[in-house]
């Protein structure tokens, strides 16, 4: 027990580790804020960089970057409507409208506090129930991944403002873009138009930067001459009462974050969108309508994507399996440092587990400090003249896209997606469903193929599997319920029944 405690407090008591965690968190915030620079990239560079370091030092820095980076994406989402990372796409839905109403400072303040809440809930769940949650993740068969992806895609219903058909079309378009490249089974090219460069597919961050960054830059050209919104910077820190009011919601969305984060191949990006959807369904009286600057629409994704960090660590620490791309690189780092990540890690090197837990908590403390620092300065960023801001955004989009895969072709694609996004915006399409389709389309395709292959290409056997496994049954029921909820049939039913039964 005292051992455990000393491992937990290791990062808190050692000045060097304390400093490295702080440094990591600080750097992470800015890495995360710049679209194209990702935590995965930063961590993999650190693996070579920290090669000769002590393993604890390296891990402290990495944890800091991870926590800071996941949060950092919200900065640019709120200020510029360009999510710094896919996990902040949902943050832009309500964060950017807040900034346009002069509340950028408050939005950043709230997202900081809520990220910390999510991060702490995630860490507590990691510390208290890691083996249990790890086992749960193993229960997910390919058909269950398929159902999770289906549930995710059904979010289109709540993401699409206005016409549902437009939302579905956008998601389909996103899915096609996501499917470009080699078929995972036969390595045959799909939608590649005979281009070798397209065989590797189009990274969805390229799509995201184009749709949000470039399209927004073009859109803003119309407002070049309108006066900039003066930002209110007096009330940055949300009041205690406000935090308390959002606490039930944030705990629910944190749990969503952890569970989604545990599943390999599904991460903070989907967790954040699911949490946003959950908030939209359950919060009856948001501070403002969703999509127009509701605080709830900011709270949900920010807690979920931070909580997903704790979730991603679960399979990594208990089984040596990555929960997402970042933990995959961290596993690599452990290997390089001569540790053997796997189920025996907890037994042979128990300090890694508790050290990580303590370190995650510490990083969240630093996140609170650094996140609230310099907000006034950042809010001023929005007040920059548009004539300067717009070219800057475009250059950032170019550099960001290029740094993903060092490919000029992807930069051209990015610009193309920007123009496409601008056109779609004109005709009332939303960008959210496209990204959703691009992330979930390939997941749905591979899990569908896996499920089919597992059932020997026999649809009947597949359906039997859906009904006989309890987990699949629950997920199928959820799909059916959401589907019904999105169709007019249920709404008619609801309006006939008493309003008391109207619960999403």
């Amino acid at each position: 027990m005292s051992d455990t405690l000393s491992y937990l407090l290791m990062a808190w008591s050692d000045p060097q580790l304390l400093m490295l965690t702080a440094l990591g968190t600080f750097a992470g915030i800015y890495i995360g804020a710049i679209p194209g620079l990702s935590v995965t990239m930063a961590v993999s560079i650190l693996v070579s960089f920290t090669f000769s370091w002590d393993v604890n030092d390296a891990l402290a820095l990495i944890v800091g970057i991870f926590i800071g980076g996941v949060y950092g994406g919200s900065r640019s989402a709120i200020l510029l409507n360009i999510p710094g990372a896919p996990s902040s796409v949902a943050t832009a839905f309500d964060g950017y409208p807040l900034a346009q109403q002069g509340e950028a400072g408050r939005a950043i303040g709230l997202s900081t506090v809520m990220s910390v809440v999510g991060g702490i809930v995630g860490t507590i769940m990691l510390a208290s129930a890691a083996p249990l949650i790890g086992e749960l993740a193993l229960r997910f068969a390919p058909r269950d991944y398929f159902l999770v992806a289906a549930i995710g895609l059904l979010l289109v219903g709540s993401l699409a403002e206005g016409s549902l058909a437009k939302g579905i079309f956008a998601a389909g378009l996103g899915a096609v873009i996501g499917l470009v490249g080699m078929d995972p089974v036969t390595a045959q090219g799909r939608f590649t138009l005979g281009q070798v460069e397209l065989m590797g597919g189009i990274h969805y961050v390229v799509l995201m930067i184009g749709l949000f960054g470039v399209a927004e830059a073009f859109y803003q050209l119309h407002n070049l001459d309108s006066p900039v919104v003066r930002q209110k910077v007096d009330k940055i820190l949300p009041s205690f009462a406000m935090v308390l009011k959002f606490l039930p919601l944030s705990i629910r969305t944190s749990i969503i974050g952890v569970i989604v984060g545990v599943l390999p191949g599904v991460g903070g990006d989907i967790a954040a969108l699911m949490a946003y959807d959950h908030a939209k369904r359950t919060v009856k009286n948001p501070s403002r309508p969703f999509g127009k600057g509701a605080y709830e629409g900011l709270v949900a994704p920010e807690t979920a994507n931070s909580a997903a960090v704790g979730g991603a660590y679960v399979p990594m620490l208990t089984l040596g399996m990555p929960g997402d791309a970042v933990t995959a690189v961290i596993i690599g780092a452990l290997v390089v440092h001569g540790l053997n990540p796997g189920p025996m890690l907890m037994v042979e090197n128990p300090h890694i587990f508790y050290f990580t837990v303590g370190n995650l908590l510490l990083a969240n403390v630093f996140l609170m400090i650094f996140g609230l620092m310099g907000i006034k300065l950042f809010a001023k960023f929005v007040e920059m003249p548009k004539a300067v801001l717009i070219p800057l955004i475009l250059v950032l989009c170019v550099v960001g896209t290029y740094s993903i895969n060092s490919s000029m072709t992807e930069v051209y694609w990015m610009l193309g997606f920007g123009v496409l996004g601008y056109l779609l915006k004109i005709f009332g399409f939303q960008m959210g469903p496209i990204i959703l389709g691009a992330i979930l389309g390939p997941l749905m395709d591979t899990s569908y193929r896996q499920a089919m292959s597992s059932a020997g290409d026999n649809p009947v056997e597949l359906l039997q599997g859906l009904v006989t496994s309890p987990l699949s049954l629950i997920l199928s029921a959820a799909v059916v319920l959401i589907l019904l909820g999105n169709t007019p049939l249920l709404k008619k039913l609801k309006s006939k029944l008493s309003p008391a039964s109207a619960r999403g």
Binding site: S44, P322, A328, P343
Partner: protein, 333 residues
């Protein structure tokens, strides 16, 4: 005054640029090293561990660049297209040797110069610890009793599991459902959750799970037991005929463009040979569950040729590929 200053500067500058190539020693600037696989994968891990030692030996800086996608076609193609000056190095795995027969691309490692074949991985056939079969013979028997019902984890055409199963099918019959995953990681997770029945894996990926009892190894893909997995039978015990393809394993290597100047090649070869031999890196490889090879020159070319020939012909025999390997110039083993 101003004009003369300008001409002076121009003269000086041109003299400098002309003088540079003559005097400068390779490497005079940082070298771009392309890893055609994603960050955190086995290839990435090996290369990121090795590179600091190479940098020390060569006295230059490497910029590691992950260019994943398309079974490493994207990254390898990129290196092919760069100027052959030794400033772009490919740090890859075995995959390009199968491009021609899988019709993924029209080049293979014969179009590169092998700087070093760093090491190779041992393959094990792994199953869930609760699986009803305990060795390869029992697995084969179970597959024959109910053909096309057992589920094998795979990583797609040209991946390690499908190649291994092709080799088995070339000498015997193993009819299974092939379930394709995005990589070792998701496949192993499914194996632990009993959503698939078995999966051929690299020792590096499977060892910790076998050691902890979550998975069991049915056989090692070799003619003898491997010291890392004592008590696990070699595959030749149940399938003696497969010995003709062994030893076999996925490998890692460093490559440059074929037309790179010889002195540059030599410098890289020396640096890599010393770096791979470094005891610290050897310790890493051992801990990683891989075998060191450290081959260069004719030895490396011989190794590549044999690997390609053995693999493609066994795949052809098992009908895993449509075109005959000699139609793309690969001789029979």
């Amino acid at each position: 005054m101003f004009k003369s200053l300008l001409t002076g500067a121009a003269l000086g500058l041109s003299a400098l640029t002309m003088a540079l190539p003559a005097h400068a020693e390779y490497p005079e600037r940082s070298i771009q090293a392309v890893i055609p696989w994603g960050a955190g994968g086995a290839t990435d891990n090996v290369m990121r561990s090795l590179t600091p030692y190479v940098e020390k030996e060569l006295g230059g800086k490497f910029i590691l660049n992950n260019r994943p996608g398309g079974t490493a076609v994207i990254g390898s193609t990129h290196v092919m297209q760069q100027r052959p000056n030794g400033y772009t190095v490919l740090l890859g795995a075995e995959n390009p040797q199968l491009y021609k027969v899988l019709k993924l691309a029209d080049f293979d490692y014969a179009d590169f110069y092998p700087v070093n074949i760093i090491g190779q991985n041992v393959v094990v056939i792994a199953a869930n610890a609760d699986a009803p079969f305990n060795n390869m013979a029992e697995l084969m028997a179970a597959a024959k009793a109910n053909p096309d019902t057992l589920r094998m984890g795979s990583t797609g055409a040209g991946g390690l599991p499908s190649t291994v199963s092709a080799m088995i099918n070339a000498v015997d019959e193993l009819k299974v459902r092939e379930v394709t995953f995005g990589g070792d990681g998701p496949g192993i997770t499914a194996l632990m959750g009993k959503h698939i029945d078995f999966m051929p894996l690299s020792l590096a990926a499977a060892r910790e799970l076998v050691r902890s009892g979550k998975l069991k190894a049915l056989a090692v893909f070799a003619t003898e037991e491997t010291p890392e997995l004592p008590g696990v039978e070699p595959i030749t015990k149940s399938l003696p005929a497969i010995a003709e393809y062994l030893p076999w394993g996925p490998f890692w290597g460093a490559f440059v463009h074929k037309d790179t100047p010889d002195d540059v090649k030599q410098k890289l070869v020396d640096a890599y040979a010393k770096a791979v031999a470094n005891p610290e890196f050897q310790g890493f490889l051992k801990n990683f569950g891989a075998q060191s090879l450290n081959l260069n020159g004719a030895e490396a070319e011989e190794f590549l040729k044999r690997w390609q020939s053995v693999t493609t012909w066994s795949m052809y025999k098992a009908k895993a590929i449509e075109i005959s390997p000699d139609s793309v110039g690969i001789a029979k083993p």
